[in-house]
Symmetry: C2
DNA sequence: GCTGGCGTTCACGTCGGCGTCAAGGTCTAG
DNA sequence: CTAGACCTTGACGCCGACGTGAACGCCAGC
């Protein structure tokens, strides 16, 4: 399989594949004419990369997984280094969630405060009034 | 107040202040010698910017707030355009929270699955064993 | 006058993950 | 033979928010 086919089957650009190769994530055999030659295991590797990137890992962070696959393990997550990355990422995501939750609360507070300032005399008991600025 | 003092009092770099000026966020008066001259309202503006950036807004998104301040309003959030940004940001944060929650769940799943693969024969009933790879 | 600490503008570097040319080589079908 | 569809390497562009350095001006104190 050449780079175009792999790209299409993996749903990525050829540029991306070359980029992965530059990073050493996806070393390619070469045909006699210099064209990159890929196999099914490479499709597997690219799929693993895209899945993990989709979960928020950087390309560098996918390296243990890809190397794990290349080492013959059934899944990229079977190795200790991959599991360490999972744990670390999980911790990072938890931290992000906590921070984002706090940010959300603060945004909500600020918004309500701003709304109070702009509506100093709310007419209670009336149905909500259409306010063009609120769009 | 010159740029160095404002930078120190606001807790940002002079480069950042010049960057804000480039963006038109922080126009500065000039002294006779060409030095930028700032007042208390500029300190206020920079504080507003930093607070909002801390909440995840881009510099561009702080523009309505800064202009609101400059227009003489008591707070940067008093204007309709600022409130719109608040609402939009809140929606974005909610989306991020939802997505990040899903990602967290998926990471957790993958981690557990990976752990199961690596420990096919758990010795039940024993106290947890120290596993150096799990660090 | 000279040093040192401020200020000025200009402009390139950084980080990640590629996009997008440019200039060419390779192979296949007509 | 030639078009055109693939491939190659090399290298610059992009986004945001500045960092960093060069080369220079301004001003206070000694």
């Amino acid at each position: 399989m050449r780079i175009g086919e792999l790209a299409e089957r993996a749903g990525v650009s050829t540029r991306a594949l070359r980029h992965y190769e530059e990073l050493g994530l996806l070393p390619a055999r070469r045909a006699a004419n210099g064209y990159r030659a890929y196999g099914a295991e490479d499709l597997r590797a690219v799929a693993e990369i895209r899945t993990l990137v989709g979960l928020g890992l950087s390309l560098e962070e996918t390296r243990p997984f890809v190397e794990c696959l290349r080492a013959g393990h059934p899944t990229g997550g079977s190795c200790a280094s991959s599991i360490a990355v999972y744990r670390q990422k999980l911790a990072e995501v938890d931290a992000s969630l906590a921070r984002l939750g706090a940010v959300r609360a603060e945004l909500e507070t600020q918004l309500q405060e701003a709304l109070r300032e702009r509506a100093p005399e709310p007419r209670c008991g009336l149905t909500p009034v259409f306010t063009p600025e609120g769009t």
